[in-house]
């Protein structure tokens, strides 16, 4: 059995770790509240954007535009959103797995990494990192999303990449987050049945300028809004994941402290009993 001093030392080290995890949990709870609020504020914009674009694409079956038909390049751009810091459970590794375990060909990928955790991991695996945006994994602004969108769209328009994907963590609620991989471009045109359903509601919608041109102007905005949405949801998910991870770390520490206290008390009692036995035995030997 470990000595009393050893147990005591162990216990106090766990206690200080627990203090740290507790503080981290509190911090990420506050950050989560804020991030959640932002995600909610931006929801109206995306819903509306999505509706407009999908109703446009529903009747875009005949439209010939590179954003819909794609180009010849076989390379694929992936915008990957991870955090800058670890200790968030599976948050970062789930996104990385999505890319490494997916059906992508390593050589064909250009990674646009947001957040340094994902960049580090993929660079180690030998992926080609095209750009890194480190600073905006904390508080993304819409202008940041615009800058990223401009860069990937330039690559797309120049024919350097033929497809654009976005890997992010969707925020469902505080405890459940889904790593997701979606294709941004070429945009998927609606199927016939879908188009018919939409047709009724938006039968008379006119576009000015005409369809092709409007599509060319709206799709970049659509891509930007998806990237921004991915960013705010990922930030919320990161803090949610960290909050959960730190919560379970704190309660694990609590458990360890409990069992160590038990061990310590037992050792203490054992020592007292032994001392008593020795004193009594000594006294009997004298008399």
């Amino acid at each position: 059995m470990a000595s009393m001093r050893d147990i005591k030392r162990r216990k106090s080290s766990i206690q200080s770790t627990q203090q740290i995890t507790k503080a981290m949990k509190l911090v990420s709870t506050v950050k989560l509240q804020r991030a959640k609020q932002r995600a909610e504020n931006s929801k109206a914009y995306f819903d509306c954007m999505y509706q407009t674009v999908s109703s446009m694409l529903a009747k875009a079956g005949s439209i010939q535009h590179p954003y819909v038909t794609g180009n010849d390049s076989t390379r694929k751009a992936v915008i990957m959103i991870t955090g800058n810091r670890g200790l968030a459970g599976g948050y970062n590794s789930n996104i990385i797995k999505l890319i490494t375990k997916g059906d992508f060909n390593k050589e064909d990928l250009d990674i646009y990494a947001i957040g340094s955790k994902g960049r580090d991991a993929l660079a180690r695996y030998g992926y080609q990192i095209k750009a890194v945006y480190r600073d905006l994994a904390e508080e993304p602004a819409y202008s940041d999303a615009m800058a990223i969108a401009r860069e990937v769209l330039n690559a797309y328009n120049a024919g350097e990449v033929g497809e654009i994907y976005l890997a992010y963590t969707a925020f469902k609620n505080t405890v459940s987050h889904d790593p997701k991989l979606i294709r941004l471009l070429p945009a998927e045109t609606g199927t016939e049945t879908e188009a018919e359903g939409k047709e009724a509601a938006e039968a008379l919608m006119n576009f000015e300028p005409k369809d092709e041109e409007a599509l060319g102007l709206i799709i970049p905005k659509y891509v930007t809004s998806l990237i921004y949405g991915g960013l705010v949801e990922s930030v919320a998910s990161e803090n949610g994941a960290r909050m959960q991870a730190m919560d379970s770390a704190t309660s694990n520490a609590e458990e360890m402290i409990d069992s160590l206290s038990l061990l310590y008390n037992r050792a203490r009692q054992g020592a007292i009993t032994q001392e008593l036995t020795e004193i009594i035995a000594g006294a009997e030997a004298i008399s």
Partner: protein
């Protein structure tokens, strides 16, 4: 005069959500004014002044990019960037206008002329909303 519901949404917040009887703005096809009962239409926005006319009240804002969806009884503006006059920094806008003019005047082969023109229009919209 008939009212319609005007909603202006930005990625960060709901900028405006009230009834209005007319709204004026600048699109890629020119300046338009919209009353209730307009045919359904989607237009792309160019930087300019957005004027909202409500009963007994008139509001202006600098609208920079986004698009507008018009339906007979409601109008939705999805604005990427929009500001009320009180949110605009006049000095910054004037400096930006000078810079943009400079770039257009001394253009080289690397100058992104479309971007410079958009920047100029944006600065002009900001300044004219303040005046």
């Amino acid at each position: 005069m008939d009212n319609f519901r005007l909603k202006i949404i930005t990625p960060e917040r709901i900028f405006f959500d009230k009834d209005a009887y007319m709204v004026e703005l600048n699109t890629t096809e020119g300046e338009i004014g919209v009353y209730a009962g307009h045919i359904p239409m989607t237009c792309i926005i160019k930087p300019g002044i957005l004027t909202i006319r409500m009963d007994g009240e008139e509001k202006e804002a600098a609208l920079h990019s986004g698009f507008i969806q018009i339906l007979p009884d409601r109008v939705t503006i999805l604005a990427e960037v929009i500001e009320w006059p009180e949110e605009i920094d006049l000095h910054r806008a004037e400096a930006a206008m000078e810079r943009a003019k400079e770039r257009i005047a001394h253009r080289t082969s690397e100058t992104d002329i479309v971007r410079a023109e958009t920047a100029l229009m944006r600065a002009m919209a900001r300044i004219s909303v303040l005046k």
